[in-house]
């Protein structure tokens, strides 16, 4: 068997896909340039145009208290006295309503709309710098680094205001050493509702009454963590909000006249308590402004904004506190806070609306100029139009001021219009694309897909070809270097991505060309003329049903409705394709044994090997498996989550962790169900392994299967029990519980690691029993004729046949419940090998089982049912594949070789997508199960790699399992061969024994084995790659679509990462198979001297 060439070829194919994805994503998701300039007091032009130091003037407020209540949704802040039975999160902040209605000129409540992404770090960045975050920043939430752009905190520090901060420690990392005093508390542990809030409350009031501060920022996290942990609709949320109500009241009591109070949420939350996306529930937070002195010149009116964008807080706060607006803010001052005309001699001197807007517009214009000189991504025509607008407005404003008149409301409105259009332009620009890179990415991906297809169809030819990749790789390096050199020569710098693109494309083209030549020579060798086909005629392969289903699946990725309903669409297709299989078998007359119609001439019957009994048995197995498949498909629909676009959808009750379930009976029921399915998972795996005699030896793998697997499941069960216990019910056991929460998953992780290591080191599950009384045996001493074709057969060839047969005899005797029969001295060979027939599949099955358990650990408990369904469906798919192969073989229509047809591979890959949905995942960012990062680490993490990889493993668990188990599609028909052979004999006889050597067939024809393995892997990669290609095309074609950031871009990211994970784990699976092959080879070598000696 060719081991290394297969791996290298697969690695190279994956690398091509990665390059394509990398290029496309690089062109599709652009990053905004940060402007590292800061405003100074000198460059704020005072109204009227006279120069002077802005900061020296008397600000309207000397001090400010900013209370940030994380995830304070606008629904939480509103108060509706008419509600008789408020839900836990409703009407819990009455103080806001009381104050706004009793003092309308002192206080007001607005909806406060955040820009996506609605993650806390991005939001803090947004409402301190006033800029718009970009899509690519999402990942930074785990390790926030210091903000380099100009921001409020920096400006406050510049003018000498003392900023005191307390709360979420994200701030500390964003603004290191900027605060006068800082009291950070750990924020990462979402299960901890109280540490941050109680820490703040310990200090807040003391600091407020002291005089050692000018701006006080307090960031409460309890509400957000409560949402993540319990969801908004939970009594804990009511408690938390009531606590916040009390906090606001106490703060109100301690406010002085020169102080401004801002109470705000940084983002909202969905109905499940998550955030990160751009649905209105996530973006609409609340902002409450209050001051003991009159804050709003007029009472609420129609002209008040309905919604305040989050960026607007920055210029408003800056002007109210008398500091320059941060350099890169694109916000707009909140007009209701400023008087329409400048009051003459009013005590707290303030800017009028027009003046504030003028300062604001000057600053925004300056930012725009700087930004456009640094980056060329704002469209020039748009830029010149904005600049023309501004110069027109500024001349109009200056002339009005010079004449001493107060600016007209129209001028104010047009200044507002200018600011709004700048913000809209920026928003549109920072989601701009690089079409050349996108096109290159698409081309490389398309080539890679074609290559995958070609390789899968020609695997048998290409496996014989040696050095297929040598020339292309050399050429790719040369081309890459050439492109880099020419770029250096012409532009002065080299862009890595273009070099990669050129290298990838050239190597792909070369491999295609070589494959074409190889096919020609192969066809010439066989002597057939290569079929000539016009380039334009549609190839016939696209019209076979499995590929038609794949085509439909890819097409469905181009429509937002189908992406939204993806879980059901995939289930529908899977169901259709699996129903097609029996229909196709029936169409070929393979499902039912033909009736011996007296009218029919007997010669028409296709083959004499056909035995009606075996066929009937095989068909009924097939139909039973179809039933299991259909059943698990239908049941898996109950584990789906819900997108916000799906209106009347209830997320599966199994998705919420047990600790959220309040009814204790329901809780117990759920727990028992989960435990039962965990037990079933373990039992089924062990049962299979034992059935095929894989649990007899003393190797590492067997140890894993015998001990580590059950231990893991015990760990899992205990962990669920511990994490489901309510915190307050066992106060005296609290320490033990927290220890369990930390230790149990870690033990499980280490067991898993140990199991995987053992599996890698010693993958053989074969048990050899060498009899001591064997010396009599020699090749001449009456060999049983059925074992050898001639007496001149070599010892090694004999051994290859011998051992599996022996193994089979042993297995049967084990099945019958008797102890292994002692072979009688002379005429029986002296080696007995258990588990040799499943030597390849046993480690793969075990790896799949172990990984499944590990991944289950990262999911909510209820998902163990879904995982059990996954295992059942896998088994049913494999068995169906095996049965249909056997049926085809019985009829003699099977082509021979181990090649896996398209239908099972497409079914396999569809099932992976189906279980992605059926384990509660969705291709949207808010639905990512962040809780997975805390399994075993309830205290949070220090790095980012570990939590990120835990979350990735959780998200793509079904992709991982199906990808790892992919080689089983090749092995299963061979594993099931025994049964068919025995069935054919009708029990007892020994004629079928020669056939029943199961996976040892693979060793007998290593060439076919390697070509089949390569074909299977490339087919699986092709199917996944085609889906990535389709979603890439969807994102490229529909990049101006309304839903692009909501549906297509997340789908693309998920599809691409899913492909990454799947391809890596396909490689893992193939590598394991190769490892086993190496081990089997060694085993034979070791065995040979023993037996012949």
């Amino acid at each position: 068997m060719k081991r290394l060439p297969i791996l290298v070829l697969l690695l190279w194919l994956c690398a091509m896909f990665y390059v394509g994805i990398f290029l496309f994503v690089g062109g599709f998701l652009l990053v905004r340039l940060e402007v590292n300039r800061t405003s100074t007091c000198g460059d704020v032009l005072l109204p009227g145009g006279q120069q002077g130091d802005f900061c020296q003037g008397q600000p309207r407020f000397r001090r400010a208290v900013v209370l940030i209540i994380d995830a304070l949704k606008i629904d939480f802040a509103r108060f509706d006295p008419a509600k008789k039975e408020p839900r836990p999160f409703e009407n819990k902040l009455p103080v806001l309503e009381e104050v706004t209605s009793s003092k309308p000129t002192h206080a007001r409540l607005f909806p406060f709309r955040a820009d996506p992404p609605t993650t806390t770090m991005q939001r803090i960045k947004g409402f301190t710098t006033g800029s718009l975050p970009t899509f690519i920043d999402v990942g930074n939430n785990f390790a926030s680094s210091a903000i380099l752009e100009d921001n409020l905190v920096h400006q406050l520090a510049e003018v000498g205001k003392r900023v005191v901060f307390m709360g979420d420690d994200t701030w500390e990392s964003l603004f290191p050493k900027k605060f006068h005093r800082s009291l950070p508390f750990p924020s990462f542990n979402v299960k901890d509702l109280h540490t941050v809030d109680n820490g703040i409350l310990q200090h807040l009031y003391n600091i407020m009454v002291s005089d050692d501060w000018d701006v006080l920022v307090a960031h409460f996290l309890g509400v957000d963590h409560c949402g993540h942990r319990f969801g908004p609709d939970h009594p804990a949320m009511a408690d938390k909000l009531t606590q916040m109500d009390g906090v606001i009241r106490s703060v109100l009591d301690r406010l002085q006249n020169d102080t401004l109070l801002v109470v705000m949420g940084d983002h909202g939350m969905t109905d499940t308590g998550d955030h990160g996306g751009e649905s209105q529930k996530e973006t609409d937070a609340a902002i409450f402004l209050y001051s003991p002195s009159p804050l709003f010149p007029a009472s609420p009116s129609q002209s008040d904004p309905e919604v305040v964008p989050q960026t607007d807080l920055v210029p408003t706060l800056a002007l109210l506190l008398g500091i320059p607006i941060p350099y890169s803010s694109v916000g707009q001052v909140l007009l209701p806070l400023f008087p329409a005309n400048r009051q003459s001699g009013g005590a707290p001197a303030g800017l009028s609306q027009a003046e504030a807007l003028w300062i604001n517009a000057k600053q925004v214009n300056r930012f725009l100029e700087t930004y456009s000189s640094m980056a060329k991504d704002i469209p020039p025509e748009r830029l010149s139009q904005l600049q023309a607008d501004f110069s027109h407005l500024s001349s109009k404003y200056l002339s009005t001021v010079k004449e001493g008149r107060s600016p007209t409301p129209e001028l104010v409105a047009s200044l507002q219009g200018y600011l709004t259009s700048v913000r809209d332009t920026c928003r549109a620009t920072w989601a701009r694309f690089n079409p050349a890179k996108m096109a290159a990415g698409i081309a490389i991906l398309a080539c890679a897909c074609v290559l995958c297809y070609v390789l899968s169809e020609m695997s048998s030819v290409l496996v014989r070809e040696s050095g297929l990749l040598r020339v292309p790789l050399v050429a790719a390096t040369v081309v890459g270097v050439c492109v880099a050199a020419s770029q250096l020569f012409t532009q002065g710098y080299a862009e890595g991505s273009w070099c990669l693109a050129a290298a990838a494309l050239s190597s792909e083209v070369l491999v295609l060309w070589r494959a074409r030549r190889a096919r020609k020579t192969a066809a010439a060798e066989v002597g057939e003329v290569a079929p000539r086909r016009g380039w334009l005629t549609p190839p016939r392969f696209l019209l076979t049903p499995p590929l038609l289903v794949l085509l439909l699946r890819c097409a469905s990725l181009l429509s937002d409705s189908y992406v939204i309903a993806e879980g059901r669409v995939v289930t529908f297709m899977l169901f259709s394709l699996s129903l097609y299989v029996p229909f196709h078998l029936n169409w070929d007359g393979l499902l039912l044994p033909p009736v011996h119609d007296p009218l029919k001439p007997a010669g028409l019957l296709p083959s004499p090997v056909l035995s009606p009994l075996a066929m009937r048995r095989e068909s009924s197995t097939f139909l039973a498996c179809l039933g299991v498949l259909v059943g698990s498909l239908y049941l898996s629909l109950f584990f789906h989550g819900c997108r916000e676009e799906q209106g009347s959808c209830q997320p599966s009750p199994f998705l919420s962790p047990l600790s959220r379930v309040q009814d204790s009976r329901l809780k117990n029921l759920h727990y028992i169900l989960s435990l039962a399915s965990l037990g079933a998972w373990t039992y089924l795996l062990r049962r299979w392994l034992r059935h095929y005699g894989n649990l007899n030896s003393l190797g590492g793998t067997v140890f894993t299967a015998r001990w580590i697997l059950p231990l893991l499941s015990v760990c899992l069960g205990l962990h669920w029990a511990v994490s489901a216990t309510p915190e307050d019910s066992f106060r005296n056991l609290a320490e033990l519980i927290s220890l369990g929460q930390r230790a149990l998953p870690r033990v499980a992780f280490s067991l898993l690691g140990l199991g995987l290591a053992l599996l890698w080191l010693d993958p053989l599950t074969v048990f050899i029993k060498t009899r001591a009384a064997a010396p009599v045996r020699s090749p001449v001493s009456l060999p049983p004729p059925r074992y050898r074709a001639s007496t001149g057969i070599s010892t090694q060839a004999e051994l290859h046949h011998l051992i599996p047969q022996l193994y089979q005899r042993m297995r049967r005797s084990l099945e019958d419940g008797e102890p292994a029969r002692v072979p009688e001295g002379g005429d029986r060979p002296a080696v007995e090998a258990y588990g040799l027939g499943t030597v390849y599949s046993a480690p793969v099955v075990l790896l799949c089982g172990l990984l499944g358990m590990g991944l289950l650990l990262l999911h909510p408990e209820g998902m163990s049912l879904a995982f059990l369904l996954l295992l059942l469906e896998m088994g049913a798919l494999l068995q169906m594949h095996a049965s249909s192969t056997t049926l085809n073989a019985l009829q003699g229509t099977h082509s021979g070789g181990f090649s896996v047809p398209w239908t099972p591979v497409v079914l396999w890959s569809l099932a992976a997508t189906q279980f992605f949905h059926a384990t509660g995942h969705l291709p949207t960012f808010p639905s990512i199960q962040w809780a997975a990062a805390f399994v075993g680490f309830p205290g949070g993490h220090t790095g980012t790699i570990l939590p990120a990889s835990l979350v990735t493993l959780n998200t793509f668990s079904s992709h991982i399992l199906f990808a790892v188990a992919c080689p089983l599609l090749l092995f299963w028909p061979l594993v099931c061969e025994v049964r068919a052979g025995r069935g054919g004999r009708g029990g007892g006889g020994e004629e079928g024994e020669d056939n029943a050597i199961m996976e040892m067939r693979l060793r007998e024809s290593p060439q076919q084995f390697s070509s089949a393995l390569l074909q299977l892997a490339t087919r699986y990669l092709f199917i996944n790659g085609a889906q990535v290609f389709a979603s890439v095309c969807a994102a490229a074609i529909l990049r101006r679509h309304l839903m692009v950031w909501k549906v297509f871009a997340p789908k693309l990211m998920f599809e691409a990462s899913g492909f990454l994970v799947s391809s890596v784990f396909v490689l893992v699976g193939v590598t394991l198979v190769i490892r086993v092959d190496v081990a089997v080879g060694r085993w034979f070598k070791r065995l040979l001297p023993d037996t012949s000696g």
Partner: protein, 219 residues
């Protein structure tokens, strides 16, 4: 060779298609407020009824059904009873399949069952008429060498087209176009009926086209 049979089939298919047409037009004239989308179930049952009546009458008149071995009354009655039983079972079978395909389990049970009735009248009823109440024969007819006569071939095509039509009819359901025909089960039943009509047209045409290559083993 079978010119006469093909002509017979073409004319009977024309009558069946006109039956579907009449089942749409006549209630529209008689029943106030009748429309295919608005009063969908009414339309569905009228089509199913019309198809059933036309099929049974035509196949009885043409005498396509396999010759019965016995002519006793009890035998005939038992055949009739078995046919009815199979039709009922087929309704339940289609209902289950449609639910497994993703139709709501309880909310729209009536609609789902109506679709199952329609599918039964388009497919199983024809099987009963052509092959008699014999499930083995039904299964065998849908294989490559299973067709024993021109009518069997047409049965394959009509049944296949109806089922594929219903399957294709499910495609527009998730789209957000808010059209009246996207409501469950309108698109599926429309798809099934359109597929049925296509099958009615395609079967004689295809047989006529391939009449040189068609051979039936036990003809």
């Amino acid at each position: 060779m079978w010119d006469q049979e093909i002509r017979q089939m073409a004319s009977s298919h024309a009558i069946m298609a006109s039956g579907v047409f009449m089942a749409t037009v006549v209630p529209a004239v008689l029943v106030p407020g009748f429309s295919v989308y608005g009063t969908h179930l009414l339309w569905l049952y009228s089509v199913a009824g019309a198809v059933a009546v036309v099929n049974i009458t035509l196949f009885w008149l043409l005498g396509v059904s396999p010759p019965t071995k016995k002519h006793t009354i009890t035998y005939k009655v038992s055949r009739l009873v078995r046919s009815c039983l199979y039709l009922l079972l087929s309704c339940l079978f289609f209902h289950t399949v449609v639910i497994l395909y993703g139709a709501p389990l309880l909310e729209t049970a009536l609609e789902t069952f109506s679709l199952a009735v329609l599918l039964t009248s388009l497919t199983t009823l024809r099987c009963v008429c052509v092959l008699g109440p014999n499930v083995q024969a039904w299964i065998r007819v849908f294989s490559r060498h299973g067709a024993m006569s021109v009518w069997d071939t047409s049965l394959q095509m009509v049944v296949g087209c109806s089922v594929v039509g219903a399957w294709l009819g499910a495609f527009p359901i998730p789209l957000d176009w808010d059209r009246p025909w996207q409501v469950w089960p309108v698109s599926c039943s429309l798809g099934a009926v359109i597929g049925y009509l296509t099958g009615l047209v395609a079967a004689p045409a295809w047989i006529h086209w391939h009449r040189k290559h068609l051979t039936y083993k036990s003809k």
